[in-house]
């Protein structure tokens, strides 16, 4: 029996799965990696070469720090460009966030105010990146745990403005939209409706946890769980709005057996298939 071709659903490739992936060769459409993990030689790059022989790759960067008031690091861009030239990813993305300030690089995706100054900074850094790579990038909506008095617009309005001005696309993380709605008291379905159909180039799905405080809770985007039912419901709404968009299952911590990720990918594939059947009818 021929396996079902899940060309639209991918999984994040992590080092604990290198051998299982090459042995089992599951029927998934593509693999996504953090390119920063491959700015080196040795085993990581060897296994990426092997994986690339079987699957298309996408690059999901975490280190460009596009929202920093300082310019994108030329050194980082050069390494990314060299890797992209070598592995020819089908898509390159990073986040609407910042990590670097001064000489320090905080290894997290940090929030900034949604206002005109941030739009200018982000557009400048995206333009530098796209010119250096010769490649349009996708910008991912973040999970955030706080917002600033300096914000003058909603997150979706901000992202749409950045995409329109810089020419980048959007990577819509549906789990992040759900997390934002809880953490900031917004409406996840209205968020989806605020994003124009033509801007979305990829969707991410992941798990989160709830962290309890004295008088309330925050959802934290931990990528260490299965996708929850509420996020699957939001994903169905997203697919109905944006069509059959390439979708990725992310899992970065407490990583389970490869078959668990493939199982999540199959759930996404079933939803996409339903939408394609609906479109065909």
């Amino acid at each position: 029996m021929q396996p079902i071709q899940k060309d639209l659903v991918g999984i994040g490739l992590r080092s604990v799965h290198y051998k299982a992936l090459l042995d089992e060769q599951p029927s998934i459409g593509w693999l996504e990696v953090h390119p920063e993990n491959y700015f080196c030689g040795g085993a990581h790059t060897y296994y990426l070469e092997k994986a690339r022989e079987r699957y298309p790759l996408s690059f999901h960067a975490v280190g460009l720090s596009l929202g920093s008031s300082e310019q994108v690091s030329r050194d980082h861009l050069q390494k990314l460009k060299m890797l992209a030239d070598r592995f020819e990813p089908i898509r390159i993305s990073d986040h609407a966030s910042w990590s670097a300030s001064g000489n320090a690089h905080l290894n997290d995706l940090l929030p900034f105010p949604y206002n005109q100054e941030s739009i200018d900074v982000l557009c400048r850094n995206i333009t530098i990146t796209q010119e250096a790579l010769g490649h349009i990038i996708l910008l991912e909506n973040p999970s955030t745990y706080l917002s600033f008095f300096e914000s003058t617009m909603s997150e979706p309005a901000f992202l749409v403005e950045v995409a329109r001005r810089s020419g980048c696309g959007l990577l819509l993380d549906v789990n992040n939209i759900y997390v934002q709605a809880h953490n900031h008291g917004s409406d996840a379905y209205l968020y989806l409706d605020s994003i124009p159909r033509d801007l979305v180039g990829e969707i991410h799905l992941a798990g989160h946890i709830r962290r309890q405080f004295n008088h309330g809770s925050l959802l934290v985007d931990t990528h260490n769980q299965c996708v929850c039912d509420e996020v699957w419901d939001l994903y169905i709404a997203a697919i109905q709005r944006f069509g059959a968009v390439p979708t990725l299952i992310e899992w970065d911590k407490d990583i389970p057996a490869l078959c668990v990720l493939v199982g999540e990918a199959e759930k996404a594939e079933a939803i996409l298939k339903q939408e394609r059947n609906h479109e065909a009818a």
């Binding site: 920063e36 993990n37 700015f39 080196c40 030689g41 040795g42 085993a43 790059t45 060897y46 975490v62 280190g63 460009l64 720090s65 920093s68 008031s69 300082e70 690091s73 980082h76 910042w98 990590s99 670097a100 300030s101 001064g102 000489n103 320090a104 690089h105 905080l106 290894n107 997290d108 940090l110 900034f112 105010p113 100054e117 941030s118 900074v121 745990y145 706080l146 917002s147 600033f148 008095f149 300096e150 914000s151 953490n183 900031h184 008291g185 962290r211 405080f213 004295n214 008088h215 309330g216 809770s217 925050l218 934290v220």
Partner: protein
């Protein structure tokens, strides 16, 4: 507040745990306070860095236990934040921090252990390169050897340690199974290298170590051998050459002194 100043204050809030300038800029929303919201970032960032150091310095961690290690690196982190996005390369200064860290003074081998693990990490992540091919060697006449520069592979690291950190590392990796190494056995000279995918460690004699050290500094073969012979007048040059050609210690592309 302008973005640059906001990001500067955010950095201080995380690194120095001094959030006073940032907290007033955080919107009050729902029942979770601005300070609690900010704590998610601080916990995430410090937690990720502790995890990264725990992975890179796993034998060092096993030697002192999780609680001691976490407490130690939490004091190391604020003055040594990462300077690049690649977290795999974080921790270069931890060995020298350990050397000065008062609570670790009763474990004099701990800094050497950490330095060994750092060299291991550097070797593992080194750029790929090609080994000196037999054809290149065959083209050399014995008369050419003295003036040649044999470059070491990019993954090669040399270490002179006061303790048998290689044995100690294997002992930790085996979670304490087997005989504990005698830490007072004296100095060891080590070569760490990744000829292909797997990393190897090798004990060297002092003369062999000096020779490789000299070559790595760009000296000719003749000058480097001179240092080895000064250390050991019976040093077997032919055996050294054969051994390191077979180990693929040398990089492709010979350079002859002009």
């Amino acid at each position: 507040m302008k973005l640059h100043e906001l990001q500067h204050n955010f950095m201080n809030a995380i690194v120095d745990n001094s959030p006073d300038l940032l907290i007033p800029r955080i919107k009050i929303c729902g029942n979770v306070s601005p300070a609690e919201r900010l704590s998610v970032y601080r916990n995430n960032i410090i937690g990720h860095l502790v995890d990264a150091l725990s992975d890179t310095f796993s034998a060092t961690r096993k030697l002192v236990g999780d609680d001691f290690f976490r407490s130690m690196v939490k004091q190391f982190i604020p003055g040594n934040m990462p300077t690049e996005a690649d977290i795999n390369r974080y921790g270069a200064y931890l060995p020298s921090f350990i050397r000065q860290y008062a609570p670790a003074q009763s474990l004099p081998y701990l800094a050497d252990m950490a330095y060994f693990e750092w060299l291991w990490n550097e070797s593992f992540l080194a750029e790929d390169d090609a080994a000196l091919a037999p054809e290149e060697i065959a083209m050399l006449s014995p008369q050419q050897y003295p003036s040649m520069h044999f470059r070491l592979r990019t993954s090669t690291r040399l270490m002179h340690a006061g303790y048998p950190v290689d044995k100690l590392w294997h002992f930790c990796e085996a979670n304490g199974q087997g005989d504990a190494p005698d830490i007072n056995m004296g100095d060891v000279f080590l070569l760490l290298m990744r000829p292909e995918l797997e990393l190897i460690t090798l004990r060297l004699t002092r003369a062999e170590y000096l020779l490789l050290q000299c070559l790595s500094c760009g000296n000719t073969f003749e000058v480097s051998v001179g240092h080895a012979l000064q250390e050991d007048e019976y040093f077997d040059i032919a055996a050294f050459v054969t051994k390191h050609f077979e180990l693929k210690t040398f990089q492709a592309g010979l350079i002859q002194d002009q």
